[in-house]
Amino acid sequence: MRWGELIRRFVLIPPTLFGVAVIVFVLLRVVPGDPIAMMIPPGASEADIGRLRALYGLDQPILQQFATWLGQVASGDFGRSISVRQNVLELLLARLPATIELALLATMIAVLFGVFAALIGILLRGRRAEWIVDGGIGMLLAIPDFLWALILLLLFGVLIPLLPISGRIDPEIDLSLRSNFYLIESVLTGRFDIAFALLHHMILPALALALPFAALVARLLKASLAEAEDQDYAQIARARGYSRPDILLHEVFPNALIPTVALGGVQVTLLLGGTVLVERIFSYEGIGNMAIDAVINRDFPLIQGLVLTFAVLFIALNLVVDLVVTMLDPRLRHG
């Protein structure tokens, strides 16, 4: 039953992506804003403009353009960026690792903080200090990631200048790495000096993305823990003389994890969407920062490629979360 649902979700991916492609494509074409006008030097002749238009296929009817583009995308060709004048797929592949590393680091920080806060909150359950934890969680949740980014930048970049506030790494460091997953590769190959320099730059943007998500994890997990602790099995374990921390950690926690992953996992997409602005604020060279430039420059092929990339990431994340939940929950596994 549950596996059938997953298969159904798989089948729905292509139509969803197709819908996304149609919407972006039509949106960009029907509204005013001419990418060619933004790239020509002043004084270009009508013939030059016409040639450029034809070069990027913008002189074709919309339906024709869409069919051409769809055919190319299906064969892995996302076209050429108008503003950067490079292959869109190459641009995406060069920048995507930076965003993925940032999102992964942020997720790890968030889970760590969130679980810790939830455990403290549940240990304080019923005491007066509980509302301090709840209030803190509420505060963290109410302020979105990009505001945290600005606050952290002011606090730890300017007022107490501990950390750098722009870029992915110091320009003078010789990277000579094979992949664009700088952090992962440098850790795996034992080049911890580079890893440290990277983390130095990533910690503020990652923290900004992590804080609201950590609060979400904490709130969900704490509620699930409280609910699970009130169940009969936990009460019985208590009656048999097991200590409360022991029960919480070994009996209650595994059961509380399932709803937390189910509800919180989907929200990782929010964290991923947040990279757009947080990267912009910290001048971090990921796809989010590139997306804003692409929009400002009316770079149609790049925008289309970026939006599709984000859509694929979003859908993949949702599926992974469903898979994890299905594997965590014995009721669903055998259902």
Binding site: L12, P15, T16, L17, G19, V20, I23, V24, L27, L28, V31, P32, G33, M139, A142, I143, P144, F146, L147, L150, I151, L153, L154, G157, V158, L159, I165, T269, L272, G273, G274, V276, L277, R280, I281, G288, A291, I292, V295, I296, R298, I303, L306, V307, F310, A311, F314, I315
Partner: protein, 295 residues
């Protein structure tokens, strides 16, 4: 039946009081902060000590008055063009309030209509609207609103359009689910038995029960709308260049953050206060309106 309906409409004052009490400090604090924001927006010409556009290059980047080098005439200092930061903050509240009110209301109207449709008709109508929501949710919302605002062009209308087009799903999803739940309740069945049409059932029975939920969603959405406007003007694609907005002030402040950190810090404080105020207000109102939430 009729008697019950009449007494519940003419609520005795004690019920109103009980509701306000249930809202608790959240309601009061939230209402106070929201009132502050709205008053600043309405009374901007009276409150602002200077014209927010008036430049004075001789007194550029002055720190707030209580800091060394500050001038009492510019209570919160000046930006790099010598414009009064306090006046710009106050005038920015106008844009924020306008966007919050209009965008949230329109998004709610569309979302509620589609949510009610999907939730009450079911079948292919529900399938169609749900798929539409799915496709919408596959976009990163921030990126989508940036793309939208950029392609529609600068201006308040385009900011509002971007928010409405992106955020109607927030309402549609929740209202659809809640409509389905309410329709299974006994009172809905009873209403059908006494012969109410689908439209009457939705309008007279279901919608009033959705109000507490809707109020919370609206308040939260107003906060989101303020944030989206900030984001768009931070990126540089919101209202025209000379209209002061918190987002454009932050963007300017980011450029000179080492020399004049207060230019970036002050609008952030305004934004956080407004958004937290709206969240508290929404929470408090829900508690006040919904007797079931009492626990």
């Amino acid at each position: 039946m009729a008697d019950i309906a009449v007494t519940s409409i003419a609520a005795p004052p004690s019920r109103l009081l009980a509701g306000l009490k249930r809202g608790g400090p959240r309601l009061w604090l939230g209402a106070a902060l929201v009132a502050l924001l709205v008053l600043a927006a309405i009374l901007a010409p009276v409150l602002a000590p200077h014209d927010p556009l008036e430049q004075d290059l001789m007194s550029a980047q002055l720190p707030p008055a209580w800091m060394i080098g500050g001038e009492p005439a510019f209570l919160l200092g000046t930006d790099s063009l010598g414009r009064c930061v306090l006046s710009r903050l106050i005038y920015s509240a106008r844009t924020a309030v306008m966007v919050a009110l209009i965008a949230a209301t329109l998004a709610a109207a569309i979302g509620v209509a589609l949510g009610l449709f999907a939730g009450s008709f079911g079948g292919w109508v529900d399938q169609f609207i749900s798929r539409l929501i799915d496709v919408w949710m596959a976009f990163p919302p921030v990126l989508l609103s940036i793309v939208l605002a950029a392609v529609i062009g600068a201006g308040l209308t385009s900011v509002i359009a971007a928010i409405v087009v992106v955020d109607w799903t927030r309402f549609a999803r929740v209202i659809r689910a809640e409509t389905m739940v309410q329709l299974t309740r006994d009172y809905a069945a009873a209403a059908r038995v006494i012969g109410l049409s689908r439209a009457e059932l939705l309008r007279l029975e279901i919608l009033p029960n959705l109000v507490p939920l809707l109020v919370t969603l609206l308040a939260v959405e107003m906060g989101i709308a303020i944030l989206v406007e900030v984001i768009l003007s931070f990126v540089g694609i919101s209202v025209a260049g000379d209209t002061p907005t918190w987002g454009s002030m932050i963007a300017e402040g980011r450029q000179i953050v080492y020399q004049a950190p207060w230019i970036m810090a002050l609008p952030i404080v305004c934004i956080i206060t407004s958004v937290i105020g709206l969240n508290l207000f929404g929470d408090g109102l829900r508690l006040a309106l919904d007797p079931v939430q009492r626990s």
